[in-house]
């Protein structure tokens, strides 16, 4: 700082000079410089602003004194000078502040310097300061003016621009406004339109949904109606949809009442559905024609149960066509036709050709064995029916009572009515399909039956037919063609059988007993006849066990139905078989007796009757016949007892006495009658006594001819008992005084049994208790 002070000192001194010189000029009070000066002067020069003002002043004039001429020039050339002064004054302001401190520090020496400054410049300054300042001021002001004028001009121009712009803006604004106004309606319109579009879009969606829900796509329609698309998943799905549409439509219409769209839709779908049903019908018809005919893709030999299986599509088709029963029944008619012919062909094959390479052998090979022949045919039918039924059940998707049934048990209950209907279809079909077989079967069975001579075989066949009739009734129902045919056949076989046994009975009736044959046992023809009855009855017995076994398993209602005819049957058999034999025994014996009196007819008849009874003995079901026989036997026994009694009486020699005794008048004493005279009586009693010692008391040679020992003793005993009774009566009569026998006791007691009844009983081996 000290180093700089010498350089600035001249300046300070000049200012001090300048300041002192300008202080006495109060007239220019408005001049800023002078104002400043005054201020400086008034305040003393030692303060900083004063010093600064002085310095400025000195600078101003320092330059002027160095070139006085120039100063004037400067005044004249305003424009140039002004800018210079301007810059100077600016400089002044700057330096005033910047150097204020320096001035303070070196005030003393500067002031002294000022005093010694050249007086020329100061004087000039004192003289011209005001003017100079004014000139300068005016110059500056002019500069200002011109500058501001320019600015003004520019501003004017700007103003003009702005105005123009304003106008234009206004215009634009107006236009905008107008446009806005115009746009508003457009916007409204647009808004409305948008709304409308939205509504329409919604409607369209709804309509699309409606359409997709209530109409079939063209693909679906094709699936339903085109002949090229076979029924399958697609087809059934389309059908489902059509059905659903109809249902929905109906629901809607039931709420809203019939609408055109609804009616149209229903009409359209119903026509589609009809076509679909027609298509199913055609499909089923062609499938059914193929089924069982064996013409699938290659040649196959026919087998009743070969390929008897319904494909899922087939089942589905059948299930759907159930809604059109008339179509279904037409289609099933076709199936039935093909099945009928197939089954017929296979049946004939089994009859005549047998299995592969002839094994198992053809059924007709056993035609000589009627039972086997007919049994084989019926068994074949039974098996065919089972297969047929299974096929039908699978076709109608009906589970069997078994695993299948269990699996869909609940669904089944639900559709009970429907199931019943299905059962009906199935029953019908099975019936129809196998019905045609009854023709050839009937023919063969009848042929076989007609050629039968043995009643037993006929009976067996008849039973076999009845057995199968029952089986078929359970399988295919009572009204089925085959059941009917079996019934017919069994009737025919019954007739053949009864014809046979009746013929045999008639033949038996024509039988004449051999007059030379002394035997009292039933003759061989009757024995043969009864042997046959025995065979028949054992066949019946086993078939009767069938019935009882069955009735246990079946309901009791069936019981009465199936049992009574068979019992009726056996009664008839017994009648037909036993009656002629009886008749032979009675009438033929009668005739023989006439021509050969010595022949013991009574014993023969009794023997024959007991033989017949013996045959029936082991069959519980023959009780009625047996009872009637027993009654007859009883009758004959009594008859024989009577005869035997008389015979015995004759043998004992008491007969005449007894006859007299029984015939006598109660008033006449017995001893007065010829045959009962004491002598005669004594002879008779003697004869009786000797008879009593004979063998015949215990054993009658005549009765020994009876085959049943029991009857022999029974008859003999009964006769003896009667003898005892009559002897007793004789004794009583003899002892009675009215009969006037002298020594009655002696008369009776002379010979055995001495008039003692108990003794006679002892001899006869009769119990006392008999009395």
């Amino acid at each position: 700082m000290t180093s700089s002070s010498p350089s600035t000192s001249p300046l300070v001194s000049r200012r001090a000079v300048f300041g002192s010189s300008s202080s006495p000029s109060p007239t220019h009070g408005r001049n800023p410089v002078s104002l400043r000066l005054y201020k400086v002067l008034g305040a003393g020069f030692e303060d900083e602003p004063t010093k600064e003002a002085l310095r400025t002043l000195s600078e101003l004039y320092g330059a002027t004194s160095a070139s006085g001429a120039k100063t004037t020039l400067v005044n004249g050339k305003t424009a140039k000078g002004e800018t210079q002064v301007d810059s100077d004054t600016d400089d002044d302001d700057d330096t005033e502040e910047g150097a204020s401190e320096e001035a303070k520090l070196s005030l003393g020496p500067f002031l002294s310097d000022e005093v010694t400054a050249p007086t020329g410049a100061a004087a000039h300054a004192r003289k011209n300061l005001r003017r100079d300042i004014d000139v300068k001021l005016a110059g500056s002001s002019r500069k200002f003016l011109s500058a501001l004028g320019q600015v003004d001009q520019k501003l004017d121009a700007l103003q003009a621009y702005i105005t123009t712009m304003r106008a234009q803006c206004d215009q634009a604004h107006t236009q905008l406004h107008t446009t806005n106004e115009a746009c508003k309606s457009l916007l409204d319109q647009a808004g409305n339109l948008r709304q409308e579009r939205d509504t329409v879009a919604t409607q369209q969606t709804i309509l699309n949904l409606f359409v997709s829900r209530f109409t079939l796509t063209s693909e679906e329609v094709i699936a339903l109606t085109s002949r090229d698309v076979l029924p399958g998943k697609r087809f059934f799905a389309a059908m489902d949809k059509a059905v659903k549409i109809r249902e929905d439509c109906r629901v809607l219409m039931s709420v809203d009442g019939p609408t055109k769209a609804g009616v149209d839709i229903i009409a359209a779908t119903s026509s589609n559905l009809e076509q679909a049903y027609d298509k199913i019908f055609r499909y089923l018809t062609s499938e059914f024609q193929a089924i069982g005919r064996g013409n699938r893709d290659w040649e196959r030999s026919v087998d009743p149960d070969a390929n008897l299986e319904a494909s899922p599509t087939l089942k589905e088709a059948v299930r759907r066509l159930r809604d059109r029963p008339e179509l279904l029944s037409d289609a099933l008619e076709v199936l039935s036709q093909t099945r009928q012919s197939t089954l017929l062909a296979t049946f004939l094959d089994a009859l005549t050709r047998g299995g592969p390479s002839g094994l198992p052998r053809p059924i007709e090979l056993h035609a000589h064995d009627p039972l086997r022949y007919i049994g084989d045919m019926l068994a074949w039918l039974h098996q065919a029916i089972a297969a047929e039924r299974e096929f039908m059940e699978s076709l109608f998707e009906l589970g069997r009572d078994g695993i299948g049934g269990r699996m869909i048990g609940s669904a089944r209950k639900f559709e009970k009515g429907r199931m019943g209907e299905v059962e009906e279809w199935i029953g019908d079909m099975v019936d129809k399909n196998v019905g045609k077989l009854s023709g050839p079967l009937k023919l063969r069975v009848q042929q076989t039956l007609r050629s039968q001579e043995s009643p037993i075989l006929a009976y067996k066949v008849s039973n076999l037919l009845k057995f199968y009739e029952l089986t078929m009734r359970r399988t295919i129902g009572e009204d089925a063609v085959l059941s009917e045919a079996l019934r017919e056949m069994s009737d025919v076989s019954d007739k053949v059988f009864f014809d046979a046994i009746e013929a045999q009975g008639r033949a038996l009736l024509r039988l004449l007993l051999n007059l030379d044959d002394t035997a009292l046992t039933p003759p061989a023809p009757i024995q043969e006849h009864m042997q046959m009855l025995r065979d028949i009855l054992s066949v019946y017995e086993s078939s009767r066990l069938d019935d009882s076994g069955r009735t246990e398993a079946e309901e009791s209602g069936e019981d009465g139905k199936s049992k009574s005819p068979s019992e009726f049957g056996v009664e008839r058999i017994l009648d037909v078989m036993v009656d002629p034999a009886l008749e032979v025994c009675l009438t033929a014996a009668e005739e023989k007796r006439r021509s050969r009196p010595s022949w013991d007819q009574a014993v023969f008849v009794l023997n024959s009757l007991t033989y017949l009874q013996g045959v029936l003995e082991s069959y519980a079901f023959a009780s009625t016949k047996r009872e009637s026989l027993s009654a007859m036997i009883e009758d004959k026994v009594n008859q024989l007892v009577e005869e035997h009694y008389h015979d015995v009486l004759k043998d004992t020699g008491l007969d005449t006495v007894i006859i007299v005794l029984q015939a006598k008048d109660p008033g006449v004493p017995l001893s007065r009658l010829d045959a009962a005279q004491p002598h005669e009586l004594s002879v008779a009693l003697q004869k009786f006594s000797s008879w009593l010692s004979g063998l015949e008391v215990m054993h009658s040679p005549r009765l020994a001819q009876l085959t049943v020992q029991r009857l022999h003793s029974k008859i003999h005993q009964t006769a003896l008992a009667r003898l005892v009774k009559i002897y007793q009566r004789l004794c009583e009569e003899v002892r009675r005084p009215e009969n006037r026998y002298e020594a009655a006791s002696t008369l009776l007691g002379g010979q055995r049994p001495f008039g003692q009844i108990h003794l006679l009983k002892q001899i006869f081996g009769l119990g006392d208790e008999d009395e």
């Binding site: 030999s301 089994a350 299995g355 592969p356 198992p360 068994a379 098996q383 297969a387 998707e397 078994g402």
Partner: protein, 244 residues
């Protein structure tokens, strides 16, 4: 058990083969019960004597093959012999049943087998079944003896219990397997009527797509012995589980 259920639900579906079986044997050996256990998976209480012939069916699965079995249950009583004899015709398999607690029923087997051989097709597959194996205490016919008899007469042999269901499926499956083997070997032609076997729809479709039948898993196991062993290993397992 799971297998069984699957079978049951697929009952109505298609099958490859249809085979006819006949169930024969003395009265009271439990033929109907065996069949009932096989078709219904339960024991038939208070079973009556069968009258004549009764029919039932079931579809089984053997390897890849589904086989529908038509089962003809015959009456064992002598008086039905003339009726039941007619059912041998056209049977592919026979299940010959005796009662292990009844020696008489075993001794009469020859007569039954003779009937079967005489009346059925020459390809008839016979499986001998000793039933009532649950009544071990009352056994009168030893396993070894029956097995020897079976070997002598060239039939398969198993013991089952229709009461517990033990081994009940085995005879039917064994029989089916043997029949399939004879089809494969060409001795049995399902296309021929009266063979007791025929193709089902399923097999037909397969045949249509490929001209020749093939039996897949069955090929290469020609020996009866192996088949038998395999089945025995396999079947009791299923049977046991079925009991639970």
């Amino acid at each position: 058990m799971a297998d069984y259920d699957a079978d049951a639900t697929e009952l109505l579906e298609t099958y490859d083969f249809l085979m006819k079986y006949i169930i024969i044997g003395e009265a009271g050996t439990g033929k109907s019960c065996l069949l009932h256990q096989f078709t219904h998976n339960s024991f038939k209480d208070h079973s009556q004597h069968t009258i004549g012939v009764e029919f039932s069916s079931r579809t089984v699965k053997l390897g890849e093959k589904r086989i529908k079995l038509q089962l003809w249950d015959t009456a064992g009583q002598e008086r039905f012999r003339s009726v039941t004899r007619s059912y041998y015709r056209g049977a592919a398999g026979a299940i010959l049943v005796y009662d292990i607690t009844n020696r008489q029923s075993f001794q009469n087997l020859s007569r039954w087998l003779a009937d079967a051989r005489a009346l059925a097709s020459p390809n008839l597959v016979v499986v001998l079944v000793g039933n009532k194996s649950d009544r071990e205490d009352e056994r009168e016919v030893e396993w070894a003896e029956a097995s020897r008899w079976a070997a002598e007469h060239d039939v398969h042999f198993l013991e089952t219990s229709s009461l517990t269901g033990d081994n009940v499926e085995a005879p039917f499956l064994l029989c089916a397997r043997s029949i399939l083997l004879s089809i494969e070997s060409g001795s049995l032609d399902p296309d021929k009527a009266g063979s007791g076997v025929s193709y089902g729809d399923r097999a037909l479709r397969r045949v249509n797509s490929s001209s020749r039948l093939s039996f897949g898993s069955l090929s290469g196991r020609r020996k009866k012995g192996t088949v038998k062993l395999r089945l025995k290993d396999y079947v009791p397992g299923t049977a046991n589980s079925e009991c639970c």
